[in-house]
Symmetry: C2
């Protein structure tokens, strides 16, 4: 093999994903060395690794998967300006300075593979344009759902449909917390467990408040709905207000609770939001457990398509990075369709679940029903059970499909009722309607 | 747009899928005409349609989706030799004459998009080599699981993993029959319903006996396991011997029954088979219902990835065809990795389910246990229930993991027992073992 056919990778970041990438690449190289023609990754080599604290990283257990002559550096320019780097793999995350690094790499005529969902969500349009101008590829299969190939699956396999909706679970931390709460456990306690297991950060806000999922939703919206939307316009709701009692009532309603990200094209605008929702057990979204991710696309012609698997973690994410690097090494070119700027509306017409914690007394139902009637929301069911103690009574109302903004207004009024012991919780109920196709 | 930038499609077959493809293409064209930049399918046009009985086809309800100046022909050469055809879309199916047509198209320097699983399973290697030699693409996303993008998903998104196993439901007819039987219904009756609904052929053998699924399994094995295997070497088992009582016992075992296709790489050989199997309810494979398809890949680094959706029918299949045509029109090039010839072993080590219909008398358990002990199979559980009538008693034994060939031998002996009223049924029990990844 002539050296010029080797694809040389400059790696930005040797943390969980970067080191797993080195291991995965080495495994392909081993298979190739043992005569497996399909794992010809002797053609891909990591030549440079940029990281802060290089001396510490050199002693990383997975540093053994790197070649002895790899260049370790704390100066990013050593990678971005290297003549012997064909592909820059960016695994640092965040908007800055990652954006300037990726721009520099593209400007230098290097392909870029990134796992950076924030960057693709906020700056994707300009970066794709730059890559096209420079005649190089910018691949980001690892940016959403880690090891689940939803990005190449949509790009290569669903461009023939007219996708009108995407929904799913794209934050493994929230899915771990909520599916653990489903098996019994309070939010605070389960969050602590998730932090101890390394599934949640010390400051869990990006995950539990929906900002991570929102960025991923915007990445998917560009690809599936061809809609360029501003992440800041997508409303989010925290999962921190979900409690054990909500799982009990959800179960009674044939549902569970999951952090769902959804976006739907309705007459030229995108209806989108992220937050905890009631998910019917008949929906594939209710199947996912632990840190799994799941994305469901709904197409006009092909109906619902489900992608699921391990969305996060070093190795699954490294698989996505490796697949993108191999695609470049194999001379593959991914389908890239234009997207146009679209407006986001956060208001959704859907049935809703309202949960109250009240001090029991006469007139509660009348007061709640009155507040809902005032905004034009119809009650679908009222659930109230004994066994929770009369001083703090959980009490649930579900509505027929209503505008979420109407309910926000009603909730604002109801929060002021003197029997209301906590801020009322209002969750969207996901509707399952996969059409039959012929 | 200059005419030379239009991708011109010659369509072989204007049946269910071909006419749906015309409709899907027209929908993209409409969106493009209304200014949607992501559906620029004014760039794709059907210029020729080959079909027998063209006069009848011209009056097809979906013929309106074709341009007025489309060339209808009963001579396939008019398409294969046309100067103004860039992509031949083959939707006739079968090995011959489809193979010679596709060869002619590739030899003429045309790209080919096909939904023909038999052809890709049996002749794929030669055809891919020919396409490469001619510098054109041969795409077949519609050959497996119709509208579910499992083929592009694996090719573009999982080449970075080392996939060791694929399993799933790739025949919608069998899934419809078995999931209907699960809700109550005898095989014969449900088959008639499937035939009336157009889900099953008058001669259902290709579906129910596993030959259709086997071809698809081989297509997936080439892509995911990089294994070129001979479909004829993959053992199949019919679903026609499954009866209502098997669903009752399966339920008691926490399982359901599905036609499963599976292939696994074990030390350089492929262990593969197709047939009805007991599927634990905890497996995603148990989720699929109706005519849905589902494929699960298991990778060394990324764990299990699930793809599911509508596997068959005109529109979902047309979505896959359209996606391939768009990929060609957009200048995309798909990852294509080499595969090597591998041996197939049909023998599987797995727990098994054995169901007997016996005339009740003393000594049955002893006789069956004796036959199993003779081949070295350990009994895991024995299930027998009242309520079925003593003259025809169903009776179930599950085994610990055993070689399927041992059990075949035991079944052969047991079939000769004088109390045995029917041929014993022996089904593999699928083991669920998705690893946690980090």
């Amino acid at each position: 093999m002539a050296d010029e056919s080797v694809v040389r990778v400059g790696l930005l970041g040797f943390g969980t994903v970067g080191s797993a990438f080195a291991e995965v690449l080495a495994a392909h190289g081993d298979l190739a060395a043992h005569g497996d023609p399909a794992h010809g990754d002797a053609w891909v080599r990591i030549t440079h690794v940029f990281n802060r604290g290089v001396d510490r990283k050199r002693t990383h257990a997975r540093a053994k998967f790197l070649a002895k002559d790899v260049v370790w550096t704390e100066r990013v320019e050593d990678v971005l300006e290297a003549e012997d780097v064909d592909v820059v793999v960016e695994l640092m995350g965040g908007l800055d300075p990652a954006e300037s690094w990726i721009r520099a790499a593209l400007n230098a005529g290097k392909h870029v593979v990134t796992a950076n969902k924030q960057l693709i969500a906020y700056r994707g349009a300009e970066l794709f344009a730059l890559a096209e101008e420079k005649g190089v590829q910018l691949l980001y299969g690892a940016a959403v759902a880690g090891g689940v190939p939803v990005i190449p699956g949509i790009a290569q396999g669903l461009s023939g449909d007219v996708i009108t909706r995407i929904s799913g679970i794209v934050n493994g931390t929230c899915n771990f917390i909520l599916s653990s709460m489903e098996s019994g456990g309070d939010y605070g306690e389960v969050l602590k467990r998730a932090q101890a297991a390394g599934y949640a950060e010390t400051d869990p806000s990006a995950d539990v408040d929906g900002y991570d999922a929102r960025a991923k939703l915007c990445v998917l919206a560009r690809l599936a709905l061809h809609a360029e939307i501003d992440p800041e316009q997508v409303p989010t709701q925290t999962i921190a207000t979900i409690s054990a009692v909500d799982f009990a009532y959800a179960k009674e309603l044939g549902c569970t609770v999951r952090q769902v990200s959804r976006a739907e094209l309705i007459e030229g605008v995108v209806s989108a939001n992220v937050g905890p929702m009631l998910v019917p057990r008949t929906s594939p979204i209710a199947w996912s457990h632990g840190t799994q991710n799941m994305v469901v696309t709904s197409g006009r012609f092909g109906g619902d398509v489900v992608f699921s698997g391990h969305g996060a973690g070093g190795h699954p994410t490294a698989v996505a990075v490796m697949s993108d690097v191999r695609a470049i090494a194999e001379g593959s070119v991914q389908v890239r369709l234009p997207a146009k700027k679209m407006k986001v509306v956060g208001d959704v017409v859907a049935p809703h679940y309202l949960r109250f914690i009240v001090a029991d007394r006469p007139g509660i139902v009348a007061a709640i029903a009155g507040a809902l009637a005032k905004v034009g929301a119809n009650i679908d069911s009222i659930l109230q059970h004994r066994g929770f103690g009369g001083d703090r009574l959980p009490f649930v109302v579900t509505t027929e499909p209503s505008m979420s903004s109407w309910l926000d207004e009603a909730v604002k009024e109801m929060a002021g009722f003197d029997f209301m012991l906590e801020q009322p919780l209002c969750l969207q109920i996901l509707v399952v309607d996969d059409r039959d196709t012929d």
